[in-house]
């Protein structure tokens, strides 16, 4: 498949860019932060996004979705990365809908996918348990009648404080496997606490004490459902990060042409030019892996694990570079809260750690290649 987006995807991307520029610029995130907004996102904005079909994008038409695919969703995610828009797109659509669509039975899909597609229901993936991303978990799932009882503690649950449904990874003693379970956020034995994060987006801590859960047990594939969902999430997140990288870079270049010192614009200094040109090169690589990996989800490519790690690894490395250079090249003004470049640094660090940082993915790539 050619590594370019098609006309429909291009149109979607452009309309997303126009919409977000107008309705959800960085100033909106700043407002949510300064208001100490308990929801951490704008339900009004989310309703408008859902109206445009963004929540329904990857869900199959038979369940009330648009069946437009992940390459399409990736274009929107990229644009939200430019505006740093706080929305349930990653938690609910990229991770939640994917887990239910791939792992749910007929009843579960009918119960949730339509409501997600229309924007009414929010979902969060509760997986992490320690300070570092890993696949193994110690939360347990015990069979009990037709359902399971889950107990354990989860951290860094993105959008956990606003979710209606939680998708929880847990270990079952019986078959010694880690699987995904649907848990209603209002169920008995579920305790959710919001945690403030450096990027001003939602995260929560979750304590489960014999909470009732339904197994998402219908997935068939070479990976486990958990690994598949994580890989799709890593690729989608990489697409969002690409938007952040591009926007931060555009702002850096604009600043190099605007700011004057010693009577000339600072972009005339070779020390800065070479660093800018090097960033340009790294971003060219980022564009390639993101489109390649997004297409791989849509085509059911067997190399998804490797492509996901390449994408998340490379984007983590490049977002770190560009967000750091952003502060340095903006100089003193880059250190002020008034200037927006700092928001990219903060989002970069959270996005880097989410679903595995570059070191995690380099280690995984080496393991996949058996060295």
């Amino acid at each position: 498949m050619p590594l370019v987006i098609n006309e429909e995807q291009q149109m979607l991307k452009e309309s997303a860019r126009d919409f977000l520029k107008e309705k959800a610029p960085i100033s909106q995130l700043r407002q949510l932060r300064d208001d100490n907004d308990p929801l951490g996102y704008s339900p009004q904005l989310w309703a408008e996004m859902a109206e445009m079909g963004w929540a329904a994008l990857t869900i199959l038409e038979s369940y009330g979705g648009l069946g437009f695919g992940f390459t399409g969703l990736g274009q929107i995610l990229e644009e939200t990365g430019r505006t740093l828009t706080a929305s349930p797109l990653v938690s609910t659509v990229l991770l939640g809908a994917t887990a239910i669509e791939k792992g749910g039975n007929q009843m579960q899909k009918e119960a949730h996918l339509g409501a997600i597609a229309s924007g009414e229901r929010l979902v969060a993936l509760a997986h992490e348990e320690t300070s570092f991303h890993q696949v193994a978990v110690s939360t347990t799932a015990l069979p009990n009648d037709d359902h399971y009882l889950l107990s354990g503690k989860k951290v860094f649950v993105l959008d956990g404080n606003i979710a209606d449904e939680l998708i929880v990874s847990a270990f079952s003693e019986g078959d010694q496997k880690t699987k995904l379970y649907l848990v209603n956020a209002k169920a008995a034995g579920v305790e959710i606490t919001k945690v403030k994060m450096m990027d001003s987006r939602n995260a929560a801590t979750l304590v489960l004490n014999n909470a009732k859960g339904e197994l998402l047990g219908s997935y068939e594939g070479s990976q486990t459902l958990l690994e598949y969902v994580l890989d799709v999430g890593r690729i989608g997140l990489a697409a969002e990060m690409l938007g952040g990288v591009k926007e931060a870079f555009d702002r850096i270049i604009a600043y190099l042409k605007e700011r004057k010192q010693f009577g000339v614009m600072i972009g005339s200094f070779q020390a800065l030019q070479h660093r800018a040109a090097h960033m340009f090169c790294e971003i060219e690589l980022c564009k390639s892996i993101v489109i390649k990996a997004l297409q791989a989800i849509d085509s059911g490519n067997e190399d998804l694990a490797q492509l996901a790690s390449l994408a998340k690894g490379k984007l983590g490395q490049t977002y770190k570079l560009v967000s750091n250079e952003g502060i340095q090249m903006f100089g003193g003004i880059g250190m002020t809260d008034d200037e927006e470049i700092g928001f990219f640094l903060k989002r970069a660090r959270v996005a880097q750690q989410s679903l595995g940082d570059t070191n995690f993915h380099l280690d995984r790539l080496a393991k996949l290649k058996r060295y």
Binding site: L3, V4, Q273, A277, L285, I291, K292, L362, D363, A366
Partner: protein
């Protein structure tokens, strides 16, 4: 879009080509190229390394396929873009060696096609196709490396001829070549980019001499070339006097793409394959920082390859960008240096041997030149920041 008639014709061409290649390419010419001798370089004093090499060259020449893209009136194959692609794919599929390697084909030819008069094309192109002239390139000088336009080799107007004096350096195979294409200064008073002309010089002319350069990697094809009052007929000037710099820039883009590794199918063994041989009982390389270095390299290499693929797809979709050749040159050569650094570390003491021509240590030393030749990495970064990013 390709219509169905073209499609049918192409399929026909493909099957005929495959049949012809199978019948005409000797088995020994379907082995990977391992050394200098495996390639035919042509030239006045051409030597074929084997009977098969001669046979393969002559058969390809009879079809004009030593340079399939050039017009038939110059002896080329006259193939269109799609046919060239088919021929290339079929040769790659069967593992056929190129029948000849020549700077005349890869570098001078494209410049002549764009800038030379018809008379000059008729004079110089057919011998290139037929492998009769071995060309070398005279660009760099001791005082003009990255600042190539600062070159000082003088070509004085003496009526019907130029009198050329000066020195070139880094001329590959100057000691074997028949002719040299050269950048010379015809107007010492003009601004430095405007006083340069593009001149073709017969290496057999009186006053031309060469001296080989030994590199840190041992032997090398590079030479110094000296011009001591060499008489060069005026008709050997390509394009307009004083406008040689635009030809030079055109050629440098070509060279950059070659060095950057686009279309390079002869890649060395993958690092992970070597790394796998050295894992410990836990299945991992014992040195975790080396393991990280290799994984980072492999990540960048895999994605760089995708970027070449994407650039081709973008070009097909009508979004080509010429300035990107600087990106490919810069990133590709820096990657290659990283590859050999990791490779040397992976081999330990065994990688330090200095016995044979193909020793890793020698190849390692040679890669240090990748980011210098054809425009240094720093020059490429300058080009990116000016032409792509629009910085002053």
């Amino acid at each position: 879009m390709i219509d169905s008639q073209t499609r049918t014709d192409l399929d026909q061409f493909r099957s005929e080509t495959r049949e012809w290649l199978l019948a005409n390419c000797p088995d020994s010419m379907r082995q990977p190229v391992k050394s200098y001798n495996d390639i035919y370089w042509g030239g006045k004093n051409a030597v074929f390394a084997s009977e098969d090499q001669k046979l393969w060259f002559e058969r390809m020449l009879s079809k004009g396929w030593t340079v399939p893209a050039w017009d038939k009136r110059y002896g080329g194959g006259g193939l269109n873009r799609l046919e060239q692609k088919v021929l290339n794919e079929e040769m790659t599929a069967l593992g056929c060696r190129p029948p000849i390697f020549s700077f005349g084909i890869s570098m001078l030819g494209p410049a002549l096609l764009k800038f030379a008069s018809e008379e000059q094309k008729m004079r110089y192109l057919p011998p290139i196709v037929a492998g009769k002239t071995w060309w070398c390139q005279g660009y760099s000088e001791p005082e003009a490396g990255s600042d190539l336009a600062g070159l000082q080799t003088r070509a004085e107007d003496r009526g019907d001829h130029y009198l050329v004096s000066g020195q070139k350096v880094w001329t590959s195979y100057a000691d074997k070549a028949d002719w040299i294409f050269c950048l010379v200064r015809t107007d010492p008073d003009a601004p430095k980019h405007s006083g340069i002309s593009f001149l073709l010089i017969d290496m057999a002319s009186e006053g031309v001499s060469t001296r080989p350069i030994k590199l840190i990697s041992g032997k090398s094809p590079f030479c110094e070339t000296f011009f001591d009052n060499v008489k060069v007929p005026k008709e050997n000037l390509i394009g307009t006097e004083g406008k040689g710099w635009s030809i030079a820039k055109f050629l440098l883009t070509h060279e950059r793409q070659m060095i950057g590794g686009i279309g390079d199918t002869n890649k060395p063994k993958e690092l992970s394959t070597i790394a796998q041989e050295q894992v410990d009982f836990e299945g991992q390389l014992p040195d975790s920082s080396l393991r990280n270095e290799i994984a980072t390299f492999e990540m960048d290499e895999a994605i760089f390859d995708m970027t070449i693929e994407r650039a081709i797809d973008e070009a097909k979709a009508g979004n080509a960008s010429g300035a990107l050749s600087s990106f490919f040159k810069y990133y590709g050569t820096e990657l290659n240096k990283r590859r050999f650094e990791a490779m040397l570390s992976l081999h330990g003491f065994a990688g330090l041997s200095w016995e044979g021509d193909a020793d890793l240590a020698k190849m390692f030393c040679r890669t240090k030149g990748n980011s210098i030749e054809g425009g240094t990495s720093e020059v490429q970064l300058n080009i990116i920041s000016k032409r792509i990013l629009g910085l002053p």
